[in-house]
């Protein structure tokens, strides 16, 4: 991963790296008025908005070359197949130039993890084995492992977090042991924003002959990721959190692992030969993609990747460091707001979870919405983590390429106004 120059990031208070004004013009939804105010969209960790090129691609597909893929011999079928498979090539290139056979398309990151658990997990995890995850996992990378541990009798061990929102690795050699068969962890926490030292953990896991699954739902959209350099065995993410359409998820896994895995969904598209009493599987990655895929959205994921490539993931990361720095600075000025997660902006993504000491996050986000500011409130699908923080829910502002420092100011103003409304009113 690229090392960021620490001195540089704190100098600028204005967003200068990206031409955010121009970027904003590509996102029609950003002109929307919400309750009489211009939309300030700060819920990007949940899903990002879509540029016009992505929106147009869906229409172009249905209007111009709608056909089922991989079987027709007519022009439309060839065009649809080629467009969809081009997305696979671009996806493979985007995460560090892996083989196209190593990219399996799913519905979302959740389904990707479930595929690994149902196929690789059920085949390889036995009673007495150990599964290691962390206390900061999203339910998607938590519940499937709980179920697998229950079903197989394997142990489920957690890497704890410390008070600052980092993984506490002081006892890691007693957690990742030769008994460990798989370590599954998030690259970037969707609640705390913490960027985890995944390369270090992968290396330790491999020394113990354990495989590693990285939940990249929050990292791939926001920073350069090279799964080969990281040496990840499984890496999952979702298109809709990176400008792409909903309904497209990605599972990357090393080819030799995918070859050893059995499919979990059976039917068309995934077979090599079928007789009345026999079937064997298609080549990678098709054996994991039974049935007609989500062609339109897969086709429309390509312009999302093009858009991110055009800007450059280094610049996107730098922009988010700047806006998060500014956001943390401004929010820290409010003595009624408590912020969670690492203090050092270089250790976190563009996610700021916080609570008001008097106002419940539901009331707060409802009030912010009345000012046009969209944030997420609740447990962010990470109930055990949020409980660990000593609260039942938090509010979360999360940034992307089109967000500005002005929008941070609007958030801060709305938080002050909420205070007048609920507390001093």
């Amino acid at each position: 991963m690229k090392v960021i120059d620490q001195n540089k990031s704190h100098l600028k208070s204005e967003n200068s790296l990206l031409s955010v004004d121009n970027i904003r013009k590509d996102f029609p939804i950003l002109d929307r008025m919400i309750n009489g105010h211009k939309l300030v969209y700060l819920d990007n960790a949940a899903t990002t908005q879509k540029p016009q090129t992505v929106i147009d691609a869906i229409t172009s597909y249905y209007a111009g070359f709608n056909a089922n893929v991989h079987r027709g011999l007519h022009t439309l079928a060839e065009e649809a197949t080629s467009a969809m498979e081009k997305t696979r090539d671009k996806t493979a290139a985007f995460i560090g130039g892996v083989k196209r056979e190593e990219i399996v398309f799913t519905r979302n990151a959740t389904e990707s993890i479930n595929l690994v658990v149902s196929s690789w997990g059920k085949k390889n995890i036995k009673q007495g084995d150990r599964i290691v995850i962390t206390q900061m996992e999203h339910h998607a990378n938590l519940v499937p492992w709980i179920m697998l541990a229950k079903e197989t009798g394997a142990e489920l061990e957690y890497i704890p977090i410390d008070q600052n929102g980092y993984l506490n690795l002081s006892n890691i050699n007693n957690i990742i042991t030769p008994k460990t068969k798989i370590v599954a962890l998030t690259h970037m926490s969707n609640v705390l924003g913490t960027i985890n030292p995944v390369a270090e953990i992968i290396s330790l896991a491999h020394k113990n002959n354990a495989l590693v699954l990285i939940d990249g739902a929050q990292s791939v959209p926001h920073m350069p990721v090279d799964v080969k350099t990281l040496d990840a065995d499984f890496y999952v993410f979702s298109a809709h959190k990176m400008l792409g359409p909903t309904g497209v998820g990605v599972l990357y896994a090393r080819e030799e692992i995918l070859n050893e895995m059995e499919p979990v969904i059976f039917g068309g598209e995934m077979i090599n030969e079928v007789r009345f009493d026999f079937a064997d599987w298609a080549e990678l990655p098709m054996k994991f993609e039974a049935g007609t895929p989500n062609i339109a959205d897969l086709v429309a994921f390509a312009p999302a990747l093009d858009y991110l490539n055009k800007i450059g993931m280094d610049k996107i990361r730098q922009h988010e460091i700047e806006i998060t720095t500014y956001g943390l600075e401004e929010l820290r000025k409010l003595d009624f707001i408590k912020i969670f997660g690492p203090d050092n902006v270089l250790d976190r993504g563009g996610v700021i979870s916080f609570v008001d000491d008097k106002i419940h996050s539901h009331d707060l986000s409802q009030y912010l919405d009345s000012k046009g500011v969209a944030v997420r409130a609740g447990h962010h699908c990470a109930q055990p983590l949020v409980k660990l923080l000593g609260v039942t829910s938090t509010s979360r502002a999360s940034f992307y390429i089109y967000n500005t420092n002005d929008e941070v100011d609007q958030l801060v103003e709305a938080l002050k106004a909420a205070r007048r409304y609920f507390v001093n009113g």
Partner: protein, 155 residues
């Protein structure tokens, strides 16, 4: 929108939110029941002290939002001294009122009428319902001798 917001956070609701009734836990309850709102993670605990077939007092322990706190406070206030049948009737009215359905307007529900503004915010209806669902489940469980499991606003 500001108007709609004010309609939900009416003065009566804000007053119940700031000074909730039934906030002190009953120490020797006849029924204790937890309730959860999986959508937001809020948890409450309801305790009921009975006097024969009447409810003597109810305590509602929650760290919820303004709507959930105010609704719980109104519950504690209105249920005191009511029979189980009356409480169930009121719970039915609250549900109808929150969901924008018809209800018996001749029945005096006091401050609860102020919860009407919540029905413009469907996501928040669950917040207002949590204490009521939990109380009715608690009474039903007590009456039928069922095992008490946490109530939820789902389903």
């Amino acid at each position: 929108m500001a108007e709609q917001l004010d309609e939900m956070y009416r003065d009566i609701i804000m007053e119940h939110y700031r000074f909730p009734r039934g906030h002190d836990k009953i120490l020797n309850p006849d029924i204790t029941k937890e309730g959860r709102n999986p959508a937001c993670g809020d948890e409450i605990e309801i305790r009921v002290k009975m006097d024969k077939d009447k409810i003597e007092t109810v305590s509602v322990d929650c760290a919820g939002c303004a709507i959930s706190t105010a609704s719980g406070s109104m519950l504690a206030e209105i249920c005191e001294g009511k029979t189980i049948a009356e409480v169930k009737k009121i719970a039915g009215i609250v549900k109808a009122l929150l969901k924008g359905e018809k209800f018996d307007k001749s029945y005096d529900i006091g401050d609860i009428e102020a919860l009407q503004g919540v029905n413009k915010f469907p996501v928040r209806v669950k917040c207002a319902l949590l204490s009521w669902t939990t109380l009715v489940d608690a009474i039903d469980a007590k009456q039928t001798g069922r095992q008490l499991t946490a109530s939820t606003t789902e389903g």
